[in-house]
Symmetry: D2
Subunit: 202 residues, 4 copies
Amino acid sequence: MGDSALLIIDPYNDFMSKGGKLYDRTKETAEAVGFYDNMRKLIPAVRAAHIQVIIVPHHRWREGDYKGWKHMNPSQILSNKAQNFAAGTWGGEFHPEFGPQEGDIIVLEHWSQSGFANTDLDSQLKQLGIQKIILVGMVANTCIEATARFGMELGYHVTLIRDAIAAFSHEGLHAALEVDGPLFAHAILTTNELLDLLSAES
Amino acid sequence: MGDSALLIIDPYNDFMSKGGKLYDRTKETAEAVGFYDNMRKLIPAVRAAHIQVIIVPHHRWREGDYKGWKHMNPSQILSNKAQNFAAGTWGGEFHPEFGPQEGDIIVLEHWSQSGFANTDLDSQLKQLGIQKIILVGMVANTCIEATARFGMELGYHVTLIRDAIAAFSHEGLHAALEVDGPLFAHAILTTNELLDLLSAES
Amino acid sequence: MGDSALLIIDPYNDFMSKGGKLYDRTKETAEAVGFYDNMRKLIPAVRAAHIQVIIVPHHRWREGDYKGWKHMNPSQILSNKAQNFAAGTWGGEFHPEFGPQEGDIIVLEHWSQSGFANTDLDSQLKQLGIQKIILVGMVANTCIEATARFGMELGYHVTLIRDAIAAFSHEGLHAALEVDGPLFAHAILTTNELLDLLSAES
Amino acid sequence: MGDSALLIIDPYNDFMSKGGKLYDRTKETAEAVGFYDNMRKLIPAVRAAHIQVIIVPHHRWREGDYKGWKHMNPSQILSNKAQNFAAGTWGGEFHPEFGPQEGDIIVLEHWSQSGFANTDLDSQLKQLGIQKIILVGMVANTCIEATARFGMELGYHVTLIRDAIAAFSHEGLHAALEVDGPLFAHAILTTNELLDLLSAES
C-alpha cells in the first residue's frame, strides 16, 4: 500500500470535540458506527504502516469571507452564519488526536465540499507518488463524498472506511455509503477490514 | 437568464428511447416524475427563451476502452461490459427529441460521471459568458449529481429540475434530490416552476 | 470593464522592495520599462475605476516544504534554497503599496508558476462574475506567463500590461511579451493605453 | 522508466507532411535540429522499450467551431481562418509514421495550446500509473510549452527533447528551450541522450 494515502477530512474541534459547534449534530451517527473508537484504532495503525497521512481541511471562517460572491451554496450560507471552524478559535483548531502530526501533509483549505477543488491536493498526491486514497472523517454526504467523487474523476483509486465516517443524519450516511458510494468508490471497507489489509502486508 | 445554460445530460437512445439498453432500468422513476412529458415541455420552452442548450454526453463505448487502466470504477466496469452508448450503434446516437439541434453546443464526452471532469465544459461555459447551469437528464445520483457538484465547486450557480431527472431507483432519485441536492444546489425546481421563471422574464 | 479584474502577481517585498532577495535580480528590466512608476500610476487608477483587485501570491517558503516531493522543478529548487518569501519574514510580507488593500481579494498561494494551478483563483473569479483578467507584477516568463496562459486555457480574456511587468533578464521579458504573449494573450497594452481605456469608460 | 510516457504533440499531416498547411512554416527549425530524423529514431526506440506512447491531438477544425465564443485567442483566430487540421481532410489526419499505432492512447483534442486543459490527459496518465512525461512534436513555444508547463503544475516530471521539437521561428524555439524551459522543465535532453537512458535501462 505504498502508493496509498489516508485522507483525514476536516478534523476540527468544531466537528470532533465535545463542545464543538457541530459535534452534537454528528454525534448520533458517530455513535452508531463507533466513529471515535475506530478513528483511534485506525489512524495509529496507518501511521505505523508508514502510509502517508494527509489532512484535508475545510475553509476556516474569517471575517469578510465570500465578499461579493454571486452564488454561495446552501452549505456555505449556513457555515458562514455559524462561523464554523473560525480561524483563531478553538473550534477551528485541529482535533488533538485526529489532526496533523509530524510528517503529515496539510493541504490548502477547501471552500466548499471537495478537498480537491481549488486546492493543492491533487498535485501533492502526484508529487508523493500516491495513486490510492482512503477517506475518513466528516461529513459523509458532503465533504467525504465530494472529495471521493472528485478523486475518482481525476483517476485515483478511492476507498471509503464506512465506520470511520459520520454524518448529520442516518439518511445522509446511507446516501453516501449505500446508495452513491457503491457507484463511484473502488472499495468500501470497515476499519477492521482495513487493519487486516495492513497486517497482511506487513 | 441570459447568463444561464440548459445542460442536457446523456440524452442517448440507450437511456431515453424504448429498446435502449438502460431504458427499462430508468423507466419506473421516469414515469413517477413524468420525465418524458416534462422534457418535451421544458426543452422547447428553453429554446424559445434563447437560453443556450448544451449537450453533455457520456463516453460512448469503443473497443479497447480502458486499456491498461489501473482502477476502473464500478460504473465503468458495468458500462464497459454492457457496451453502453456504443459508438456507431443506435444506442449511442442522441435521442431525436432530446439531443442536439442547430445552435446547441456539444461538449466532449465524459469518461465517468461528471460532465466537467476531463472535458471542455467549463471553458465552453466561460467562452459563452454563462454563470448558471440548469440540469436535466440522467442519472440523478451519478452523472447529474456529479456534474452539479463539480459545477458548484468551480463557482457556477446550479439548478436541478426535479421532475426532468430520472434514476435507476427511487432511492437514487431521493439521495440526489432530497438528501444531497439541498446541500450543494442553489435551486431545485419543478419543470413548471422553471417555465414560470421563463415567462416572468419574457 | 465591470467584468474585469486586475491580478497583481507576487507583490512581495522580496521582489519589489529595496533589500528584498530578488529585488536586484529584477531591477534592470524594471528600470528599463519604468515598472515602479507604472505600478504607482496604474493600481490607484484601477481602484478608482472600481475594478476588482486580486492579489495572486506565490507560495511563501516554510520549513519542511516539498517534503517527500519526487520532482521539484528548477524554480522550486532555487526558491527553496533561497527561502524566498519566507513566511513570517519581511521578505514574505506584501509590498506596502502594491499589496492588498481593503476590498481586495487574496487568493491561495500557488506552489509553482501559475496562479490558477492548485488555488481558488478560478472559482473566486467566477463567483465575482469576472471574465477578463489584467496582469501586472513579476516575473514575466514565469508566474506572469504561466498565470496568463492558464487563464486563457480556462476561457478567460487575458491582458498583459507590458510596462508593469518585470523579469530576471531582458531575454525573459522579450520571450513573454514579444515571442509567446502575442500567441496566447488577447491584448498586450502599455500602462497608458490601459489608463486611456479606463478614462474612456468613466 | 516504467512510470514514463512519450507524448507526441499534434502529429498531423498539416504540421509534419510535405504539403501540409503548416509544414513550410516549421520547416526551417525542423531542419536545423534534425526534427524528422530524430523522430524516426526516437519513436521506434521508445516503443521498443515498452514506454507508453500517448497522442496529444490539437482540435481539428470543424464548421461552426468557436460559435458564440467571447474571446478566441490569437492562435485560434488564425487557426480557424486557415482551417488547420480540418476534420475529414488529409491535413487533419495523423502523420503515418508519427501518429498512433496499436497500443497507443489517443487523448481528447485540446482547443488551445495545452494538451492537459479541457481534456482527459491527466486522468489517463493517472489510470496508467504514469508520473513522468517526455514531450516531442510541435510547436515549441505554443503546444509543447503549454502542455509541459501545465503538466509540471499538475505534479508531473517533465522532459523536453530539444531536437525533436520544432517551431515557427528560431526565436520561438529559443524561447521555449533556452529561456523558459530551464525554469519549468525537469530535464531537457537530446534524442541521443534519451536513447542512451533507454539503453542503460534495458
